[in-house]
Amino acid sequence: MIVCENLQKRFGPTLAITGLTLQIPDGQIFGLLGPNGAGKTTTMRILSCLIRPTSGKASVDEYDITNESHRQKIRAMIGLLPEVPGLYETLGAYKNLDYYAQFYGVPKQKREDNIKATLTNLDLWDRRHEPVGNFSKGMKQKIAIARALVHDPQYIFLDEPTASLDPEASKTVRDYILELKKRGNTILINTHNLAEAERICDTVALVKNKLVKVGNPKQLARGLFARTISITLQHIPESLLKNITSLTSVSGARVDGRQLILNVNNPEEDNPLVIDWLMKQGLQVQFVSEAEHSLEDVYLKLIGEDERP
């Protein structure tokens, strides 16, 4: 488990992050979301024992990140994908990974097995001896991910893992991250890709130099927005919008093409009443579905609110 308590980091007069308190349970995919300069990378670097916090506490697997003798152990448990791949461009993919595995003290046979498995999973085994300087951005990113995993770390920190990847490669990486979760790894992801975070993260923390909100993406949306249903009708008469708001179960309504979008308090109870009322009006209902708010909506609302004075 990763625990942060009132973590703060200053770079001279600039406050990168303050008052960050959160817990990341083992086996979760945890997303750190926020705008540029929100302190996401700084948080990741603090937890990776690359930089020290100005104040506050944090621990990884109960090892204190401020304790000098613990810091080396923590680094050995973490696989880090930094913001920029930072590969040795003149060396081949295999050598890049092999050197890193040696830095982590992985025995020779295990190194070979790990490198083969990781590069095969990321579709790069056949090009393992080519200098990585010749590779595309996406391939470099994949190798950087492979490098973070070459020593079988328990904790995997990924800073923008699918940045600069094409949709197919992004999916490969996402699937691989989900596979790592299945193996029991704890994964911390910094990302701007909200759709991706929504898809793979168990918990997300919205940060903007401080913790804005933390929770499951769906729960966050439900906590912030009224529940919405979308009813597709064959045609929508002009008077409908005015009349339907007279129903007590409907707190708001709008029309989008042939879709009637209603805010209701409890869809499970209110939907049958609404449908019954519509049918009594002589309207033909084609589809009914619950319109869910995306993580993007949550992000824009929370970060937007935070930006307003």
Binding site: R45, I51, P85, G86, L87, F103, P131
Partner: protein, 348 residues
């Protein structure tokens, strides 16, 4: 370290310059300089005493000065001595007539009808004298028969030791210069590639990382220098052996320099580059600023070539010890700078 060396092997242009520099400076250049000197002024020929002028021919078979006194172990100043045996005397501004002068130093003096053996003569006029095993300078010998056992060295003999010293200094400067190329790539290059962050995220300690960086610059620099040193010795010996009859290199001075001063100078340069790397973020800037690193070595070179310092074994130990102390100081300074926090916060 192995990663750096492996990466370095791929930089063919850098390797080329690193191997070429010592070879050109330590092998090709000395050969180009030495070949004309050796061929134009052969080492075997010696020149006359400096300022010797012989006029006339010696009349008579031999002199037999009549003497009635012996003067020895003393200094003579502005005196006229005749019919005496002078032994172990230092004389100045004197006139000697019909004397035997043995094992003495004589200057600004006129010697007439006398016999000299084993004397050092300076600014002396000899008239109708005999002499052997003499040494000195500015001698006017009129109607005399004098031979000198010690003679002025040939121009080649005078120039070659100085040039050999210069070549030796090249083998000190080269290992101090090469790390400015390699260390710039291995540290500043790593900053530019942004490959420091994943490296620092490994459990490797700061000291291990620093040691790796030092050795990955030190090994190729000293390797290239030793290669050039070996080739330089072989080629110069091949050049000298026909003229002097033996292999003059390597001397003890050369061996001590290459195994004591060169490594300490090299480490000094590497450490200075590490420190410079903390302040600059461009390979070219690091190399340019790194040029100043060789200043202590250039100072040594100038001191040796100008004759201010004679590179005796003791002096080599002193210089190596000074460089070693400087290395220790620089290491602790670099160690303080080379910490993860400062690298990520200030270097990138």
């Amino acid at each position: 370290m192995r990663k750096d060396l492996d990466e370095f092997r791929k930089q063919k242009l850098v390797i080329g310059s690193i191997v070429a520099m010592p070879l050109v400076l330590g092998v090709v250049m000395p050969l180009v300089l030495f070949v004309p000197i050796i061929t134009m002024a052969p080492l075997g020929d010696v020149w006359d005493v400096e300022g010797l002028q012989q006029i006339g021919t010696f009349q008579g078979s031999s002199l037999d000065p009549w003497t009635n006194q012996t003067i020895e172990n003393t200094s003579l100043q502005s005196q006229t001595i005749q019919y005496a045996i002078l032994h172990n005397v230092a004389a100045e501004n004197c006139v000697f007539f019909s004397c035997i002068i043995d094992n003495s130093e004589v200057s600004f003096t006129t010697i007439q009808e006398s016999v000299c053996t084993g004397a050092y003569l300076e600014n002396v006029t000899m008239v109708h004298c005999e002499g052997s095993q003499l040494d000195g300078r500015n001698i006017l010998a009129i109607d005399s028969n004098v031979t000198f056992s010690k003679t002025k060295a040939s121009e080649a003999q005078q120039v070659i030791p100085m040039m050999l010293n210069m070549v030796l200094m090249i083998f000190i400067i080269v290992p101090a210069t090469l790390p400015t190329i390699i260390a710039s790539y291995s540290i500043v290059g790593e900053k530019n590639n942004r490959s420091l962050e994943p490296l620092l995220a490994t459990p490797t300690s700061d000291g291990e990382l620093l040691a790796g960086k030092i050795f990955s610059s030190f090994i190729p620099s000293m390797g290239a220098t030793l290669l050039a040193f070996l080739l330089g010795i072989i080629f110069l010996d091949i050049l000298f052996i026909p003229h002097v009859g033996y292999a003059p290199l390597p001397t003890l001075t050369w061996l001590l320099c290459i195994f004591l001063i060169a490594p300490t100078a090299c480490i000094m340069s590497v450490l200075a580059c590490v420190i410079i790397s903390s302040k600059v973020s461009d390979v070219r800037a690091a190399q340019q600023v790194g040029g100043f690193v060789v200043m202590p070595v250039v100072a040594l070179m100038l001191a040796v070539i100008s004759g201010f310092i004679f590179l005796s074994p003791l002096m080599i130990f002193v210089v190596a010890a000074l460089y070693g102390l400087l290395d220790i100081g620089l290491f602790y300074f670099a160690r303080a700078i080379f910490s993860r926090d400062s690298i990520l916060e200030k270097w990138t």
